[in-house]
Symmetry: C2
């Protein structure tokens, strides 16, 4: 595989993040430069123009670059709607199950979404987070065998069962989105703030973990009653709410009938440094060790995994 | 007790509703006229002026009327902050535990809030809904003996255990508020609408009732996945979400360790006609019969209960 340049893009609802990368001979991606553009819901359907705006400064030096895209850009509100591939899925399924097309002389590959169906006929979907799973698989040989649980916190948390290098099952919890709307639009928080208070975060999580599993909507109200009782200040309420939400999320994942936290090799968290730490803290309260990884780096490794699959296959043709 | 005129006021966060009433000789309240004003959070702290604006048209004919107020007007963001009285509470505790004051020649009585503390030291509060409980107690002699569960749906659902004519315990679930913010600010609902679809409402409730109790944040996501699978239209999504939320709420109440749905005399719902019907439907799916009552009428009966307590006591002084 010769060294080459390419663009990888994480194109979500709110932002487009384009990474100019060099693919080394041993299939590693080195990040050269980043450009940020408008997300899928912000660019009035002018996706091609938005892409060109972001990458145009690279063309004089590197020419028409191949582009690899993941995220909501391939959803029904995006540019090229790709189907949801059903689990179980191996990396090669994701590397070849998306859509290839050209725009303004650039060869573009956009990833598929993934889905899974449960025995009770409920259904779940993911779009974009697969990259982090593929990237995580690249991190150690041990990740390619046995059963592992991955937690991918974000707007929606994805809990994923990876078994022998394939994505077996996953489960979504709307934790990040609930945190945002409850922080900004509910009676619970008068003054949203970013000052994280570890002590009340843990109090929130422990309150949930010690209570009834089904009591979410009542547990939430404790954010207000604790302020009324002067057990919590307005400034602390945001951290306490976060503890309630992440406690509920992690406990629901642990109680899922579709995997056993006690019977997997290991538990891993791939997300922002901040969120990963919060989830690791709550898993710790529940008695589970976990390892954390930075989502951006892991996504880049995920693109490298896809390139490796596609280039290796091409070179054997 | 002589026939007399008075004003009863339900002064919530968003609206003030003032009712000119006649108190009959047998302590019944007859509604003569209604005025609507601005809620506690909408009148810039000018509470006295807002009250006078609402009742001024009645003064020429009826003079300086006694005023009875309930709701958020007595909270920390209101006019006169009354304390939370701890359960168990009899009607007379609420009739005398509030605050009396005068404004512009009107004698005003504002109700207390109520609170309850659980063995796990968690805490709950209510402010305004007590009226409906007192009113419901007036509806039948049978309500004054034995154990009964009351469900008061609204912005926050209150589930209340009434035993031998006293409020023993209650529990809040933020169901109505979650419905509002999820309908208007989340990825789940693209087009909020008021067309109630009974079939998908029941599907939402049954999905929850058949699943894991702790899975709220995942169950919510089914509002989106069912749209992706074309099992639910955009127009139906609001009704389905309502089923998810009310199913979760009613199941959590039923599973509370502090009362037994199977061991109470009866279950009653006091709320808007629409919401009461939704809760009764879900309780029916769970195998429980319930009776429904209109909240406005019941509130008026609650004020009558307070007047009866206060006037009877006064007349014996």
């Amino acid at each position: 595989m010769a060294s080459q340049y390419l663009v990888t893009i994480d194109w979500g609802t709110s932002f487009l993040r384009a990474y100019l990368c060099e693919l080394s001979k041993d299939a590693e991606l080195r990040l050269i430069e980043t450009q940020v553009g408008r997300g899928v819901s912000k660019c009035d359907g002018n996706f091609e123009q938005e892409l060109l705006n972001c990458i145009s400064s690279w063309i004089p030096q590197y020419g028409k670059l191949p582009v690899y895209m993941a995220g909501q850009i391939s959803s029904s509100i995006g540019w090229q709607n790709t189907k949801y591939l059903p689990c179980p899925l191996a990396p090669k399924d994701i590397a070849f199950g998306g859509k290839s097309f050209s725009a303004n002389g650039h060869d573009i590959y956009v990833l598929p979404g993934t889905s899974c169906e449960y025995p009770d006929q409920s259904f779940d979907v993911m779009r974009g987070e697969e990259l982090q799973i593929l990237g995580w698989m690249q991190l150690a040989l041990a990740h390619e065998t046995g059963k592992h649980i991955l937690c991918l916190p974000g707007t929606h948390t994805k809990w994923v069962l990876v078994e022998n290098g394939t994505i077996r099952l996953f489960k979504t919890a709307m934790t990040g989105e609930l945190f945002d709307i409850l922080s900004n639009s509910s009676v619970l928080i008068e003054e949203p703030n970013d000052n994280f208070d570890s002590k009340v975060f843990i109090e929130g999580a422990e309150y949930v973990l010690q209570g009834d599993a089904g009591d979410f909507s009542h547990d939430l109200f404790s954010v207000r009653t604790r302020q009324i009782q002067a057990q919590l200040t307005k400034q602390q309420a945001t951290s306490y709410l976060s503890g309630i939400l992440i406690g509920t999320d992690a406990r629901a994942a642990q109680q899922s009938p579709y995997w056993e936290f006690d019977q997997v090799e290991s538990i891993h968290i791939v997300g922002s440094i901040k969120l990963s730490k919060y989830f690791a803290t709550v898993l710790g309260l529940m008695g589970y060790k976990s390892k954390t990884y930075d989502a951006k780096q892991t996504s880049l490794l995920g693109f490298a995994s896809i390139l490796k699959q596609r280039c290796l296959t091409n070179s054997t043709n």
